[in-house]
Symmetry: C2
Subunit: 166 residues, 2 copies
């Protein structure tokens, strides 16, 4: 066992979304609804030049949990299969940290307008990082156990949040 | 200002790298050196099916800092330019969280062997998430302010950690 270190992190802003009762499993690019991040005033200077990036990482606390983390989870895309929590994006993890890659639309003052984020309204933000194509876009990546699905093409529509009627 | 919430997170393991005195700015795929993550035994079950992914996110605490965070930083790739801290991957941020996308080589027990990670030996790990191609690989991403460089091609070698002699 590693040392028992704990770390105290603080909210730097809030993520505003239309999701109050339920949220999608992954970011959907819903252009008809408003999604924005509000940064605490003391951090606004830290946004300089961010708008030059097309995508950013949001790092946040998954604070709407009502169950304890479990080492095994049953993801929505797995046909009932149980996978390890670290093989999933489940919010029920030892540290309830979430990350999402979202499209940056514009920044006005302390508001960052983004494409759809798969989080509840009022989610506490911990950090923003630029998504740097040369570092973060791995074109030879795969979809792991998700590829075991019998119907990967259909599943891929769910994952990418593309509406479909079958 | 948002509410003053703070959150306590805990170490779930440690990242082992050859970097003791200095670390590269970004992950290099150094196949001649050993990089691995050791997960605390209580979390090993959470690794089930992870090895099906080619890439994973490591989320960790940047705990080797000796300066206070600043809203403006001068990144190594910016020709002396100052950018906002959230437009950079600088470790000197309001919350010292780091994320790296690394290649997963193999998992043996509680050890995850990975390609090069740009962190110091003994870095405390907070979370592991699968890098899911359909979610996380944005092929239309850009390199933001980094593209303002006069010599982007050269800079890109630095960013991607590709050795070169000019």
């Amino acid at each position: 066992m590693s040392d028992n270190s704990t770390f105290v992190l603080k909210t730097i802003g809030l993520i505003n979304t239309p999701y109050v009762e339920s949220a999608p499993y992954q970011p959907l690019e819903e252009n008809d609804k408003e999604f924005f991040v509000v940064i605490d005033e003391e951090y606004v200077e830290g946004l300089k030049d961010l708008s030059k990036f097309k995508y950013i990482f949001l790092i946040y606390i998954l604070n709407k949990l009502n169950r304890e983390p479990d080492m095994g989870v049953i993801p929505p895309w797995g046909n009932g299969k149980t996978v390890g929590v670290f093989s999933s994006r489940s919010p029920l993890r030892p540290n309830p940290i979430g990350i999402s890659v979202v499209k940056l639309k514009k920044i006005i003052g302390n508001k960052i307008y983004i494409s759809g984020a798969d989080v509840f309204n009022g989610t506490p933000l911990l950090d923003i990082k630029p998504y740097v194509k040369d570092l973060d876009s791995k074109t030879d990546a795969n979809n792991g156990w998700i590829e075991d699905s019998d119907d990967l093409e259909h599943l891929s529509l769910h994952i990418r949040g593309i509406p479909h009627d079958y």
